[in-house]
């Protein structure tokens, strides 16, 4: 393939502001065909906005976008797609009730004079699948596919539109390592065919493993671009934060208190299954429960949340035997707090203020005769902002306008408000930028030091290892390994989680 003489896509001085906040400031960027770049940066750095501008979802206030040597002005995603640029958003954009084939060919159904037919559709979808060497089950409903497979359908969709540039927003956020590898392998192949790829990612490991170039965005500007091979992580992170990343201190393992949460012989036939899982969490300790997707850790999480999973077994809180929680109320009554993984959907009321969200669970204790004591509520929120270092204008700010990390902190504060004996956290730093991540981890350690028992259920091995006093590994529904603080290692954790050489 002849090297191209001019970049595939170029932006010159692109700026964008929403109201009074300047989200992008004179960003210059260029990418050649066949090149792939990882775009990294803290939340709020402007990465998503940038992605949306070059794919036509948003229009820039100033600056130019030049695609394949022509200045372009995308008024809508339709224009961008026609030009050859496709966006695969983080939440994926598909129609669950329709088949894979219909999703692949959305808005481009094969037709004669406007008439189409299912068999025609499937044939065309299979042809595309073969052409781009991406196998997808064209007849199945999208809702039946795993998240990873849906992602692949989305990519095929973008490719089949003759896209020369694909922009992916957090493509592997919800994938296991194996699935992510598979994805990058595909993207690599496509890169060889001349496709340009821009991927926004929070996962340092992947950036270093799969990308030849990493661009750092900070505060709306592109501040760095370089090859990961030649850039040590610390430097990259420094560009992202504008300061040195503070390493998480070594864990001082305080002496373990009494076990306050005991999971005894949990078994479940619902998928993912559980087979006789037992462990305990003591006062003052952080236990990480780690495993790849489908290992059963999610089931344990749901069981502790009271989400009505059909689990058999026993649970003991502070020595009191309980029935497995039938619903979240039962869990709360047993003084087991739960921080859900999907904060936007399951944990926060985005349209409400910080104040409202923080006091969510304890509103009764803040009320007299059914009327809420406003001052008590406000104080609770103010304390939370201070203790958790939540960056917000005031307690009245809408939670939906906060960054991911700050939202997560609000969620954490709300779940701590009822002062639970045990706090269970499910994916506590998903979708959270590095700076906030470190803060949250530090917070969790502090809580443990103050005597709380914490159970962190996560698929992020870095996280699982970084904060644990004890690290438990699950695989295929069973507990397969346990590491004390001194023995923690990401390599061993992964090995035990996937079963075999990492």
């Amino acid at each position: 393939m002849l090297p191209s003489l001019s970049p595939l896509i170029e932006t010159r001085h692109v700026s964008k502001s929403f109201g009074s906040s300047q989200v992008l400031n004179a960003v210059d960027f260029s990418l050649d065909a066949g090149q792939s770049v990882a775009v990294v940066g803290e939340n709020g750095a402007g990465k998503s906005t940038f992605a949306k501008i070059i794919t036509g979802v948003l229009s820039p206030d100033a600056g130019e976008v030049i695609f394949e040597n022509e200045p372009v002005s995308f008024g809508s995603p339709r224009d961008a797609i026609k030009a050859g640029v496709a966006l695969i958003p983080q939440e994926l954009a598909y129609v669950p009730q329709l088949t894979v084939a219909e999703n692949l060919l959305v808005n481009r159904l094969p037709s004669t004079f406007g008439f189409t037919s299912p068999s025609h559709l499937f044939k065309e979808a299979e042809r595309l699948s073969k052409e781009f060497e991406l196998e997808v089950p064209v007849r199945r409903l999208m809702s039946e596919l795993s998240l990873a497979d849906r992602q692949i359908v989305e990519i095929l969709k973008a490719l089949s539109r003759d896209s020369r540039l694909i922009v992916l927003d957090e493509p592997t956020a919800s994938l296991t390592e194996a699935e992510s590898n598979h994805l990058y392998e595909i993207l690599g192949r496509l890169g060889e065919r001349g496709l340009g790829i821009v991927a926004i990612s929070h996962r340092m490991d992947e950036v270093y493993k799969f990308f030849g170039r990493a661009d750092v965005f900070r505060n709306g500007e592109r501040v760095f671009s370089g090859s990961p091979d030649q850039t040590p992580r610390a430097e990259l992170i420094r560009h992202m934060l504008g300061r040195e990343k503070e390493e998480l201190e070594d864990i001082e393992t305080a002496p373990r208190g009494a076990p306050v949460l005991r999971i005894q012989s949990w078994s479940s036939e619902a998928i993912p299954e559980l087979h006789d899982v037992s462990f305990e969490v003591a006062e003052g300790e952080v236990v990480s429960l780690f495993g790849v997707r489908g290992c059963g850790a999610d089931t344990v999480a749901d069981g502790l949340a009271g989400r009505g999973r059909r689990i058999e077994g026993a649970v003991e809180v502070s020595g009191r035997p309980e029935r497995i929680f039938r619903n979240p109320r039962a869990a709360r009554r047993a003084k087991v707090g739960f921080v859900p993984a999907e904060r936007k959907r399951d944990g926060l009321v985005l349209g409400q203020s910080i104040e409202a969200n923080v006091s969510f669970l304890v509103i009764d204790t803040l009320s007299v005769a059914g009327f809420v004591r406003g001052r008590a509520r406000r104080r609770l929120a103010e304390d939370a902002i201070r203790d958790f270092d939540i960056r917000a204008r005031n307690v009245g700010q809408q939670v939906g306008t906060l960054s991911g990390g700050n939202q997560q902190k609000v969620l954490l504060a709300s779940r701590l408000a009822p002062d639970p004996t045990v706090l269970v956290l499910h994916e506590p730093t998903r979708g959270v930028d590095i700076g906030a991540r470190i803060e949250i981890h530090r917070l969790l350690r502090r809580l443990a030091a103050a005597g709380k028992a914490l159970l962190v259920i996560t698929t992020d091995v870095e996280e699982a290892v970084a904060i644990a006093d004890r690290l438990l590994i699950m695989r295929e529904g069973r507990l397969v390994d346990e590491m004390a603080a001194a023995e923690r290692s990401q390599a061993r954790a992964l090995r035990s989680a996937v079963g075999g050489a990492a």
């Binding site: 979802v57 809508s76 995603p77 339709r78 797609i81 026609k82 966006l87 958003p89 994926l92 954009a93 598909y94 129609v95 669950p96 009730q97 329709l98 219909e102 959305v106 808005n107 159904l109 037709s111 406007g114 008439f115 189409t116 037919s117 299912p118 969709k157 036939e269």
Partner: protein, 334 residues
């Protein structure tokens, strides 16, 4: 568990799973609940009343179902695309009144029909623009339109009933082929046309996309505003047609016509597998839903059930059918 017992357990679990899947498939179609209901009602009424299955009665059922059927089919377009249209209760009488007035003036039936249907289209256009361009909530927008068109029907008719002076004005309710009233043929025609459009045209398929995930469709470059407007236009035209059909049966049009058609048509679409969030539903299901409701009304009348209980029964049927649908959903998920 020893491997021996494990093997013994596995086939049993496997068998149980197979049974679930079979049951799930049997209840697979989205309107299976309603079909079962329709069948049950037919069996019950046939057994309880000797007149139920007589040809004349079946024709009465079909004839009565035609108007609401036509309106419900138009509503199907809108519900599939993720919206709903409450203004049909106002558009139907308005079109019926306009049709009557023009036909009475001697301008001819065909021009009258065209104008009346155009009125329906205009109402639909107004709805579509408000909802897609101005971003109005479909509930509020179509509720407002319903009041306006309904009121307009009274204004045009000056509060009086518009009699269709010539018998031929009500041609849609006459019998041209055997004993079957024309409105049944119209219903059949509209149903077939809609079936083809929703299943075999790109326009129809994109409606499912639109209703299933508006955002994804927009990102994929679909002309979401245009599509959204078009479905309301279609619904407006069918509402107009439905109103004219009712008036043709009565040979009179007044503002009170079709006053309960808004909720009734949406109920029929939901019975037919539609979802208020969009992306589901279809003509076959809607027609079955309409028939179920029609059979129920007719059957209860044949059995001389008091009108108060009739209302309760209609509500009960709706809940039952939707409940059956929920069971199907849960079985599928398991």
């Amino acid at each position: 568990m020893s491997t021996a017992t494990k093997d013994a357990v596995e086939p049993r679990q496997e068998a149980r799973r197979r049974d679930w899947r079979f049951a799930a498939k049997a209840l697979a179609s989205p309107y299976s609940g309603t079909t079962i209901l329709l069948a049950a009602l037919v069996v019950y009424f046939a057994a309880s009343s000797s007149e139920f299955l007589e040809t004349s009665n079946i024709l009465v059922i079909l004839g009565a179902a035609a108007a609401i059927g036509i309106v419900a089919i138009g509503q199907t377009f809108v519900v599939v695309s993720g919206g709903f249209d409450l203004s049909v209760s106002g558009t139907a009488p308005l079109a019926a009144v306009v049709f009557g007035k023009i036909a009475n003036d001697g301008s001819g039936i065909v021009p009258a029909l065209i104008v009346a249907l155009a009125v329906g289209a205009a109402v639909g256009l107004a709805n579509g623009l408000m909802i897609s361009r101005a971003g109005f909530n479909p509930l509020i927008a179509t509720l407002g339109t319903a009041s306006i068109t309904g009121g307009l029907a009274f204004v045009v008719s000056k509060g009086l009933t518009v009699i269709y002076e010539d018998r031929s004005t009500g041609f849609l309710a006459e019998r041209s082929v055997g004993e079957i009233p024309n409105q049944v043929w119209v219903l059949l025609f509209v149903a077939c046309l809609t079936f083809v459009v929703l299943r075999y045209t790109t326009f129809g398929r994109s409606l499912y996309s639109l209703g299933g995930n508006w955002e994804a469709s927009w990102l994929a470059g679909m002309r979401v505003n245009l599509l959204s407007t078009m479905v309301y236009v279609i619904c407006g035209v069918t509402a107009a047609l439905g109103g004219i059909v009712i008036a043709s049966q009565l040979l009179a049009a007044d503002g009170q016509l079709a006053s309960n058609y808004a909720l009734l048509s949406i109920a029929a679409v939901i019975l037919g597998g539609g979802s208020l969030t969009g992306g589901e539903g279809g003509v076959v299901g809607t027609v079955i839903g309409v028939l179920a409701l029609g059979v129920l009304t007719n059957g209860m009348a044949l059995l001389h059930v008091s009108s108060f209980y009739q209302e309760m029964a209609t509500g009960g049927v709706l809940l039952l059918a939707v409940g059956l649908g929920r069971i199907r959903q849960l079985v599928n998920v398991a």
